[in-house]
């Protein structure tokens, strides 16, 4: 197999990479671009630790080929942070609520939740649970993750009341 050149737009910056057609987006982001916030957990699309946003939509990096991301915007967790690594409000909620233990699932959880709140405005706790079904956590029992996201939903509603859709 021959490598081809690709321009990947990740967290607002363009990166030229040489990839095999079989390389997954996870492989390229983690191993070529050194993005440690995109992680191999199962390679089957079951656990969600490799979640990234592709043009704003959450996808499993392990089930997406790198070539499929050409010409599209890739956002990883660190892409949510402001200048000087200012925490996103949901990251603050995760800290306050103790929503990380080992932390391995955290980037995927946060990206999935940010996408949900962007789409749904004010999701209920049940809706949050439903949206996180593809992001497994083996440490926390989910309660503190749900608490953190609910707190963020409240903050987000205050910040942007016009986004409330239901």
């Amino acid at each position: 197999m021959t490598r081809r050149q690709l321009v990947l737009s990740v967290n607002g910056g363009d990166h030229e990479v040489w990839v095999l057609p079989s390389d997954t987006l996870l492989d390229v982001l983690h191993d070529e671009l050194g993005l440690a916030d995109v992680r191999y957990g199962c390679g089957e699309g079951v656990c969600g630790t490799c979640t990234v946003l592709l043009d704003g939509e959450p996808v499993n990096g392990c089930l997406t080929l790198a070539v499929q991301a050409a010409g599209r915007q890739v956002t990883t967790l660190r892409g949510l942070m402001g200048p000087g690594e200012t925490l996103h409000p949901l990251q603050e909620c995760f800290l306050r609520r103790g929503a990380s233990q080992c932390g391995f699932c955290t980037p995927g959880m946060i990206l999935a939740a940010v996408d949900l709140v962007r789409r749904r405005g004010r999701p209920s706790r049940e809706e949050i649970k439903y949206a996180l079904v593809g992001n497994l956590c083996r440490c926390t029992g989910y309660t503190k993750i749900l608490d953190a996201i609910e707190e963020y939903v409240g903050l987000a509603a205050v910040d942007a009341p016009d986004q409330v859709t239901s």
């Binding site: 095999l20 983690h30 191993d31 050194g34 440690a36 916030d37 992680r39 191999y40 957990g41 199962c42 390679g43 089957e44 079951v46 656990c47 630790t49 990883t76 967790l77 660190r78 942070m81 690594e85 925490l87 990251q91 995760f94 800290l95 306050r96 609520r97 103790g98 929503a99 990380s100 233990q101 080992c102 932390g103 391995f104 699932c105 955290t106 980037p107 946060i110 949050i128 649970k129 439903y130 996180l132 079904v133 992001n135 497994l136 956590c137 083996r138 440490c139 926390t140 029992g141 989910y142 309660t143 503190k144 993750i145 749900l146």
Partner: protein
């Protein structure tokens, strides 16, 4: 010197009632720096390091559970461009790992090869190693290693493995260890009992399913083989030196913060393979196990068969208990001798049993090896002793809580080993609290549904078995600017092991948490603390840091008193300052000023302290002696609804309450309890690594059903703080205990709902329907 205001809280909002007013930092829930890195996604786990010229390693594993290796041809693999090394058993300087997990007290001596030599004993056993310039080439080369096998008869269940005529997994015999604990005269007491209940309970192979698969990198630096891996135990450096036949000083293990471990990273995982590849190639190597490889090749939780016979008087007082436990060790010893010991030591639960006979055996099979997994034998056994209590309550027509209260252990009581309990037992308190947390019992949601409530109490050890003479060391140093460094060999599973040490040091020395840095998990640069397992680190490293901090403070106190012109016995250390007790608004010195004054007076501000655990001995012949330093007690309660048409069990509410002695960080304590309970729910209802004739059936992560966000309700938590644990500030360990109660609690609730007791895990819809069928046939 300048004036300061009243002390400020160290951060975090939660403060348990019992800790309020007594402590400044302990009992609060500040976020620690590793959690900041975790929410940023910037924490570097074991798979996240790259080194110049790094190769990629891959293990070639046996496809058969029991076979003779008649030949290995590595020529095709070696010929593949990009392959740098292919290693087999002949390349291992010392190919024998002898674990002797009970410290040689009772088990057979059986060696495990690093790479199989001549014989494979389980499917997934490592046979060869490959290193190549890319991961893909390493995978391709592994496929090209041609191993010829002659299949041999195997043995796959513990009951047939005990028969003399069974194939032997190891020449010395299939029973690796057989523990016994005896007190009183159990046969006479059973014969004299007013009522006797019997039961047999079975549990399954379970997978840790940490989200971070086994991984690490290795390299050689200054002649020292260095591994940075996801491990609970940096002390494996000694075993790696033994395998390579190099001095122990020439191997260094660094433990990255782990993406979960739960006991599955207590044995070595990638370490010996990485070490061999690095040693042979003299290049950096990375190895990451695929999830699918991890499912097949990693150790599992022991399946148990537990047979109980329990006698009691008519008023519900336990008089006797006979227990037989069989654990499937799989093909190699690993930690099975210790797991089965914990099972035996805890087999009577939190109850007084004056006459007991307990035996537990670890038996070899050609199944995947079993070893440590959160709960470590003391969790499987809860299903046994709590099922017996519920059966007894039903037989006597007593309430389940009343029967338990009549028999709960109390401080001063003797365990079946003859040792007295020397801390309080607040299990009744946890039981009432857990039941109260559930509220009013629910009503069935529809016809054809049955609701039930269950409870499950437990006694779980924290700290290593007492004859290991456990120790942990910590090294504290106050820098010239008054900030604090902690160095401790502890590894961090994600439960806040490092963070709680910072809180303990901050409490004693008054350094603000933001001014403390902690260096952990390095066998070369940290004083040894022992691994993070056996719920031992708060007890061990926590006490080591507490002792070191107190001793350092004691050494610096005369200097501070001199600076302040007061008597040395009345100083307070807090908020980066020292001042005369009770005069928070008055004169003070900063820790920086104190550090400078210490240097001027040649008083060292660095201090190393080694903390020694309680010691004792156990006699395996009499089954009497000392077992564990102390226990954590707790109760879970649940409401479930059973669909009698489908057998589906829905957990409606779940509450978990434990006496943690003292909550150092209440939010982290809650997290441990919620997470432990959730793992327990998966274990109770869905998780099962089906192993058929030695073949692991779960080929994909999707086949192994760990709880997702939708499966179960929030776990309601009750924290009891008796203040009487043996950890720092009276804390008890809480890492493992909360997984123990769950299966028994759910079984209790199902029994309450449908009138039949499940006796086999997981409690799948098919099994519940089977139980309902027995009820239809025999309404009694």
């Amino acid at each position: 010197m300048r004036c300061v205001g009243p002390p400020q809280p160290a951060g975090g909002q939660q403060l348990t009632e019992q800790s309020a007013g007594r402590y400044r930092v302990v009992g609060r829930s500040p976020a620690h720096h590793d959690f900041v890195d975790k929410v940023k996604g910037s924490l570097l786990y074991a798979a996240d390091w790259r080194l110049p010229g790094m190769l990629h390693g891959k293990v070639v594993r046996s496809q058969l559970p029991s076979a003779r290796i008649t030949g290995i041809d590595v020529s095709a693999a070696r010929a593949l461009p990009g392959v740098v090394a292919v290693l087999t058993a002949a390349d291992v300087p010392n190919n024998r790992i002898v674990e002797m997990a009970s410290g040689g007290l009772a088990e057979l001596e059986v060696a495990m090869p690093v790479l199989a030599s001549g014989r494979v004993r389980y499917m997934g056993e490592p046979v060869a190693l490959v290193a190549a310039v890319t991961q893909q080439i390493a995978h391709e080369a592994a496929e090209l290693v041609a191993v010829d096998y002659e299949e041999l008869a195997g043995v796959f269940d513990v009951e047939s493995a005990q028969a003399e005529s069974s194939p032997r997994v190891h020449e010395v015999g299939n029973t690796l260890v057989r523990w016994q604990i005896r007190c009183g005269d159990v046969e006479s007491a059973l014969a004299a009992a007013d009522v006797v209940v019997e039961g047999e309970y079975r549990t399954q192979h379970a997978e840790h399913a940490y989200l971070e698969p086994e991984a690490g990198v290795g390299w050689v630096e200054n002649g020292v083989l260095t591994l940075r891996v996801s491990t609970q135990v940096i002390e494996h450096a000694a075993m790696i030196a033994h395998i390579l036949q190099v001095p122990q000083s020439k191997v260094r293990v660094i433990a990255a913060y782990m993406g979960g471990g739960f006991g599955g990273k207590e044995d070595m995982t990638v370490e010996p393979y990485l070490a061999l590849l690095v040693w042979h190639t003299r290049r950096p190597v990375r190895m990451i196990w695929d999830r699918q490889e991890s499912l097949v090749g990693s150790t599992k939780r022991h399946p148990f068969i537990m047979r109980y016979r329990t006698g009691a008087t008519r008023d519900g007082t336990l008089t006797a208990q006979r227990v037989e436990i069989l654990g499937d060790a799989g093909a190699y010893p690993n930690l099975s001798p210790r797991v089965l010991f914990a099972a035996a030591a805890c087999a009577s639960g939190p109850y007084r049993v004056p006459n007991a006979s307990i035996t537990s055996s670890a038996v070899f099979t050609n199944n995947v090896p079993s070893s440590a997994f959160r709960g470590f034998g003391a969790m499987q056994i809860v299903l046994g002793y709590e099922s017996q209590m519920d059966q007894l309550a039903a037989r006597l027509g007593m309430s389940r809580t009343e029967l338990r209260e009549r028999n709960f252990l109390a401080k001063g009581d003797l365990l079946p080993t003859g040792e007295p309990l020397d801390t309080c037992v607040e299990v009744a308190h946890t039981m009432h609290r857990a039941v109260a947390l559930l509220g009013e019992p629910p009503k069935p949601s529809a016809p054809g549904k049955a609701v039930g409530r269950g409870i499950g109490c437990n006694r779980h050890p924290y700290g290593r078995a007492i004859w290991f003479r456990d120790q942990a060391a910590a090294w504290l140093s106050l820098a010239a600017d008054g900030t604090l460094l902690i160095r401790c060999g502890v590894t961090d599973l994600g439960a806040g092991q490092a963070a709680s040490l910072c809180q303990i040091a901050a409490e004693v020395l008054g350094a603000p948490l933001d001014d403390i840095s902690i260096y952990i998990g390095d066998s070369a640069l940290n004083p040894p603390a022992g691994g993070t397992f056996a719920t031992r680190q708060l007890y061990m490293s926590g006490n080591a840091v507490l002792t070191a901090a107190r001793e350092l403070r004691e050494r610096m106190t005369p200097v501070a008193a001199d600076l302040l012109g007061v008597r040395p016995d009345e100083l307070e250390f807090a908020n980066g300052r020292v001042w005369p007790a009770g005069e928070a608004g008055g004169v003070s010195v900063t820790l920086a000023e104190l550090a400078a004054a210490c240097v001027q007076r040649a008083v060292s501000t660095a201090h190393l302290s080694t903390w020694l655990a309680e010691v004792g001995s156990f006699d395996p012949r009499t089954g009497q002696g000392h077992t564990f330093p102390d226990y954590t007690y707790g109760t879970h309660a649940a409401d479930v609804e059973v669909d009698v048409e489908t057998g589906q069990v829905t957990v409606l509410r779940y509450a978990a309450c434990h006496d943690v002695g003292r909550a150092i960080n209440p939010m982290r304590v809650e997290g441990q309890i919620q997470g432990g309970a959730m793992q327990g729910l998966g274990y109770a209802l869905t998780e099962d690594v089906a192993v058929q004739d030695g073949y692991v059936q779960a080929a994909l992560f999707a086949d192994y059903l760990i709880p997702n966000s939708l499966d179960y309700p929030d776990v309601l938590v009750g924290i009891v703080e008796s203040g009487e644990g043996k950890g720092p500030f009276g804390a008890r360990g809480i890492g493992e205990p909360p997984i123990g109660n769950v299966a028994a609690t759910i079984a209790s609730a199902i029994q309450d709902a449908i009138g039949v007791r499940p006796a086999q895990l997981p409690m799948t819809p098919e099994r519940i329907l089977g139980l309902l069928d027995t009820r239809r046939v025999d309404p009694a």
